[in-house]
């Protein structure tokens, strides 16, 4: 099904050869090949993790991992998208937990089975050191897990490849929520402002602005001082 007027390269989609322009991303190549996507597609900008893709190259024994929306096709690419991967998510109420190592071990006991083989790290299209944060999780270092896993988009490739069936990205999510709620230093100015709002401190000032006609509001706006 090569087109007559465009330079194309062959790629293989679920075993079938299609010829696509070499400038396309994997996602656009699938659409070019005639697929209307509902699974394996999301934000189309590298933020949602929906388009996790596994591919091989002809004559190359390696498996490669990518986001279909951020990766350009290569000749003789054998493509498979991972539309959905079942993973375990522990059930918890964040307010009932404490930010102690036991929270991770209790909710995700399989965590301690991690072999540190690093297959997860190789599979991560974000380039996150998944093995590294799993090691931190086994040490119970919640802050380290939260920091190292922050750019995770939960595409699930780590979990799909894990020989001992971890759901790394859910462990990481738990760690980040524990960090955000319990370990991050509180912002005194925020606590104070919430209290002021609950006491109606700004009602009068807002009412005053709301009572102004447009011209007066405009001149207030144009004259406002801007923090350097």
């Amino acid at each position: 099904m090569a087109s007559v007027d465009v330079e194309t390269i062959p790629v293989f989609v679920m075993g079938q050869r299609v010829d696509v322009p070499p400038s396309l991303t994997i996602l656009r190549a699938l659409e070019y090949a005639g697929y209307t996507l509902t699974r394996g597609v999301g934000c189309r900008a590298g933020f949602c993790g929906a388009c996790a893709t596994v591919y091989r190259l002809k004559g190359d024994p390696h498996l490669y991992f990518a986001l279909a929306c951020q990766t350009v096709v290569r000749p003789e690419m054998y493509l498979a998208q991972i539309p959905f991967f079942p993973s375990r998510r522990a059930d918890y109420r964040i307010e009932d937990l404490t930010a102690a190592p036991a929270a991770l071990f209790t909710l995700y006991p399989e965590l301690l089975r991690c072999l540190a083989c690093g297959t997860c790290t190789k599979a991560c299209p974000q380039g996150i050191d998944v093995r590294g944060y799993m090691a931190a999780a086994m040490r119970g270092d919640i802050a380290a897990v939260a920091d190292a896993s922050f750019d995770c988009i939960a595409c699930g490739l780590c979990s799909a490849r894990c020989p001992v069936e971890e759901t790394q990205y859910n462990v990481a999510l738990l760690a980040r929520r524990l960090y955000g709620r319990y370990l991050a230093k509180r912002s005194e100015h925020l606590t104070l402002r919430v209290d002021e709002i609950e006491h109606g401190v700004f009602r009068e000032g807002l009412a005053e602005l709301r009572a102004l006609d447009e011209a007066s509001l405009r001149s207030r706006y144009d004259a406002r001082d801007i923090e350097a």
Partner: protein, 549 residues
């Protein structure tokens, strides 16, 4: 995909002027200059790109051609033949849309004692929320106040905003930050625990809270996890968009018809109240612009609400984000966060000269970029004919110290690195991209719409931002009004029994279409844009122009 020789030549001029620019930023425009550049160059002012809507409660309102088409469209289902018998699912509150507004609404409706069913077109969390990079505004610093925030929002929206909604927005803002933090959102902080806030375009105080440049993703994944933690009160149904609302025949919304994207079967939901949190319509590609929006952003909620009598507000104005990617081609139109300018990066033309203050409001900034390229002809042109100007990202590490870009903008670094461009060392080529629906269905501060039983929150709602939204007020808006709509809908559901389910509104709609002489048109909501290349003509060409990645 690294830069071309012509680009590198221009980059050399950007580098040559960098040292001098570090101590000299282009001045802000006067109010008159702002008005002038908007009128002459902002896409909203191109008269032939919009038209009057020919039916419905806001007949005569102007809106982009592509949006007018879906607003006037025939329904997806035919009321004469559709078998509306019984219901497959029953709930107190039905929430349509699984982004930040929907998740916030679900949590508050459940907290209010309502049973909740959240349905979403793709996966839960597939939404523009997930893609928001820059941050969320809240006046919580000691030198700031909700009153100051109010003034910035009104000015940014050209004083056309609904003041009641703005008051709700700015007053709830610090409360929402606190709520999110209690749920476990990790905001960027200074060592003493205070929020590391910066400026956005049009802010008079540094009140932009961020989570690196994954701000929306961080908020979305926490809200989604919290909803999943409350599965006894909130059911989630993915890949099941709403294709029609149901009414009692007397103006009250009483449920919805879902379309299962996998089986193509319809399902009927009987609900006491419905909240639409379906987001915007960037995938309609107004004026052929590429978009930063999610694949599913096809204005579904606005279409559904308009058909049952929801009023439109500010749908004549769209937001074109000044800094969409202009190169490489594969990611044209995708977002380069305003945080890049918030951290000090300036904008330069082909000669390495500044031509605009970097943090004008988005509409003004975008119009200035378009003027530079189209009128003054001092932008760059890529080999595919895409114009652009330079966003000088390497300045950030010179201003704030080495490593700042890597720490504050990891998503941007990663995205460009994938195409062999190192934004810590080289500037980015950018051009305005379709980003946000400034308006939507008119709401009250509790998310109600004037249509009984129908609530709207998030990007699908209108009035909060007037004709131009400021950076960081969208993540704020979805959480503030998502929460408010969820709470109000739970109260409503507690006070009203489930109503009768009919398709009377569709019969009326079809009669009105006929009276207006409208016989053609592709049914809406369209659910997804059509980007598929069809070798043999099996159906009409897509109505939606194919552009963007």
């Amino acid at each position: 995909m690294a830069y071309t020789p012509a680009m590198l030549e221009s980059i050399a001029r950007v580098e040559a002027s960098r040292q001098a620019r570090l101590s000299s930023t282009y001045p802000r425009m006067t109010p008159q200059e702002r008005d002038d550049v908007l009128r002459r160059f902002h896409p909203d002012y191109i008269a032939q790109a919009a038209r009057e809507i020919r039916l419905g409660v806001c007949k005569g309102d102007r809106t982009p051609l592509e949006l007018a088409d879906v607003l006037e469209a025939p329904p997806q289902i035919d009321p004469a033949t559709f078998a509306l018998q019984g219901s497959d699912l029953q709930t107190d509150v039905l929430i349509v849309g699984g982004g930040g507004a929907g998740a916030s609404a679900a949590l508050m409706a459940a907290q209010g004692g309502a049973s909740v069913l959240l349905v979403t077109k793709l996966r839960f969390g597939d939404a523009n929320t997930m893609m928001a990079q820059g941050g969320i505004q809240a006046a919580d610093q000691p030198n700031d106040s909700p009153v100051t925030h109010y003034l910035d929002v009104m000015g940014g929206g050209h004083f056309s905003n609904n003041p009641e909604l703005v008051e709700a927005l700015v007053t709830d803002a610090p409360l929402v930050i606190h709520w999110l933090e209690q749920l476990g959102v990790m905001f960027d902080k200074l060592p003493d625990g205070s929020m590391n806030t910066i400026h956005g375009g049009g802010t008079s105080r540094k009140r932009m809270h961020s989570a690196r440049d994954y701000s929306g993703a961080e908020i979305m994944r926490v809200l989604r996890d919290e909803v999943r933690s409350r599965s006894e009160g909130i059911r989630v149904l993915e890949f099941n968009p709403v294709v029609e609302l149901l009414t009692d025949g007397q103006g009250r919304v009483t449920g919805a018809v879902l379309l299962d994207m996998e089986t193509r079967e319809y399902k009927i939901v009987h609900a006491r109240a419905v909240i639409l949190t379906t987001g915007g319509g960037g995938r309609l590609h107004y004026q052929g612009f590429p978009t930063t929006n999610h694949y599913g952003a096809t204005a579904d909620g606005v279409v559904l609400a308009y058909r049952v009598g929801g009023r439109l507000a500010f749908l004549h104005t769209m937001q074109y984000h000044p800094t969409g990617v202009a190169y490489p081609e594969q990611i044209v139109g995708q977002l380069v966060t305003e945080k890049v300018r918030g951290l000090g990066a300036q904008v330069c033309n082909i000669d390495g000269e500044q031509f605009v203050y970097p943090l004008e409001t988005r509409d003004v900034e975008a119009a200035a970029f378009i003027r530079e390229c189209q009128d003054r002809r001092t932008g760059l042109m890529t080999t595919t004919g895409q114009p652009g100007v330079w966003l000088d990202s390497p300045m950030i590490n010179l201003i704030h110290g080495p490593g700042t870009i890597e720490k504050a903008l990891p998503a941007m670094v990663r995205q460009f690195k994938g195409f062999d461009i190192d934004i810590t060392r080289q500037p980015m080529l950018v051009y305005p991209t379709l980003h946000y629906q400034n308006g939507g269905i008119a709401i009250q501060p509790d998310g109600s719409t004037g249509v009984e039983g129908l609530y709207v929150a998030g990007e699908a709602a209108g009035g909060i931002h007037g004709s131009n939204r400021l950076m960081g007020n969208s993540l704020l808006d979805i959480t503030v009004f998502g929460r408010r709509a969820g709470a109000a809908a739970a109260v409503y559901a507690g006070q009203h029994e489930a109503g009768a389910m009919t398709l009377e509104h569709l019969r009326a709609w079809n009669r009105e279409r006929e009276a207006a002489g409208l016989t053609e048109g592709r049914p809406a909501p369209i659910l997804l844009p059509d980007y598929t290349r069809h070798i043999r003509a099996v159906r009409k060409e897509p109505l939606v122009p194919v552009s963007g990645g």
